[in-house]
């Protein structure tokens, strides 16, 4: 895979979040669940685990800033949370062997960290007034399931591409 293709792929995931929420929200609301896709975050976690920490951190900062500018009103919340999540996850992944189960687990842990960061910061500013029990049952659990499924779906093709990219980076 060429180096330039990677940010483009993550950008596709990033834009599809907004479109999917807009298209499927009427259905999930009848079930009273809040399913939040964090596709770009999951892909950045893969980059942090399989490429290297620096790339994960840079993409986390970049797409965090993009999320802040495009999808929210306040700059800084996602910028900080996504970069920190990518960094922490890549530290964990150094001590674990990379296979499907471990990657899935780390993605879920990463999305959980992100959700808690954003929930905490937004509660601090006063944007969210959801109670912690509602947050855990109605938001966190369905969100983790959807993002876990997404991680399984992209695991084989995406990791293959990332490994190829890593080899080309080593050669240079």
């Amino acid at each position: 895979m060429k180096k330039i293709l990677l940010p483009f792929l993550i950008y596709l995931g990033f834009i599809s979040e907004s479109s999917l929420v807009q298209a499927f929200l009427p259905h999930q609301n009848s079930m009273e669940w809040q399913i939040i896709p964090h596709f770009s975050m999951v892909m950045i976690l893969f980059v942090a685990m399989y490429l290297n920490t620096t790339y994960g951190l840079i993409y986390g900062l970049g797409f965090g800033l993009l999320t802040d500018l495009l999808y929210t009103d306040i700059i800084g919340v996602y910028l900080f949370s996504m970069a920190a999540t990518a960094y922490v996850t890549s530290i964990f992944s150094r001590y674990l062997f990379g296979n499907l189960i471990v990657t899935l687990l780390l993605s879920i842990v990463g999305v959980t960290i992100l959700e808690f960061f954003v929930y905490g910061l937004n509660s601090l500013i006063g944007i969210s007034n959801q109670m912690i029990d509602l947050f855990l049952y109605k938001r966190l659990v369905p969100t983790l399931i959807i993002n876990g499924l997404f991680a399984i779906l992209i695991y084989y093709p995406f990791v293959k591409q990332l490994n190829q990219l890593k080899d080309t980076l080593k050669e240079n």
């Binding site: 907004s18 259905h27 939040i36 993009l66 999808y71 929210t72 009103d73 306040i74 800084g76 006063g126």
Partner: protein
């Protein structure tokens, strides 16, 4: 993890927390217009969103059709019953409209505060984390959209335009919990009862209608509309229906819970309203600037 918190990393962490707080503080104050790079980013993202939303909507529409087929018979019967009522109301409406026109002609009044220009727009995306309740529409500065314009769906009032770039704009829904997202409204009835809409209660899935006088008597099911005070939104836009009333924590005012009349989760086509008659304050401001 031997060097997880070495000195250098600790300093970087502290510095980034300071930057975070500074950024949040900077962006929390309300800005009237976006900076140029922000506009460029929003426009290019809007372009890709326009490509994406169509296939996504088609897939979602298929599932919706399946669900709707079950309720079709029931709905048909209900609509038939409504049809008779409609004919009666229509005759009444025509009559009232005619008297209104003749009265206006007598008064020689041509412009009205309630006149507004309507622009239709399509929703191309939504803020994916549901802390922020924003939708994005495919009309922008090029089409004459300006910040603070009211946005409605066919069922009722849904929000206001917060910022505009060249080809797309952001709409803040009334269910957003932002502190600046407040506006005055009235309960329809024999006497107008005033209050302000202040945010959303996710547990009851209802809007909070606060600062109502203690002795005001409100019944369940009464309709709440925008007041038109404050010179921002046009008056008489339907917001919702009262479902519950309770006294405030201190007991000086009352709080009502409103069920929004528009389905805030299912928005595809919306209308942006512009007041035809310039508000008094704006013309005053312009004079001051001159």
């Amino acid at each position: 993890m031997p060097h997880f918190f070495s000195n250098k990393r600790l300093i970087i962490l502290l510095v980034s927390i300071i930057i975070l707080v500074a950024l949040i503080g900077f962006s929390m104050k309300k800005r009237e217009s976006l900076t140029l790079p922000e506009q460029f980013l929003k426009d290019s993202a809007g372009l890709t969103q326009t490509i994406f939303y169509k296939p996504a909507n088609t897939i979602a529409g298929f599932f919706e059709n399946l669900a709707e087929m079950k309720q079709l018979y029931k709905e048909n019967q209900m609509l038939k019953a409504r049809l008779d009522e409609y004919a009666k109301l229509y005759v009444q409406f025509e009559e009232v409209k005619k008297t209104n026109e003749t009265l206006k002609a007598q008064l020689d009044k041509k412009e009205d505060l309630t006149d507004f220009k309507v622009r239709e727009a399509t929703v191309i995306g939504r803020s994916p984390d549901q802390w922020n309740q924003f939708i994005y529409i495919n009309k922008g500065e090029k089409d004459g959209i300006k910040p603070k314009m009211a946005v409605i769906s066919p069922q009722g009032f849904i929000g206001k335009v917060t910022n505009v770039s060249l080809f797309q704009s952001t709409v803040q829904l009334i269910s957003d919990n932002d502190r600046a997202n407040r506006f005055s409204a009235i309960v329809q009835g024999e006497k107008n009862i005033f209050g302000t809409i202040e945010g959303y209660d996710p547990k009851r899935q209802a809007l909070l209608f606060k600062k109502i006088e203690v002795d005001a008597k409100i019944k369940k099911g009464q309709k709440v509309i925008t007041s038109g005070l404050g010179d921002v939104f046009p008056p008489n836009l339907l917001i919702g229906e009262v479902i519950e009333i309770e006294p405030d924590e201190v007991g000086l005012t009352q709080t009502a819970y409103l069920k929004p009349s528009a389905n805030l989760y299912d928005l595809n086509h919306v209308m942006v309203l512009e007041r035809e008659m310039p508000a008094v304050n704006e013309s005053l401001k312009e004079k001051e600037e001159e």
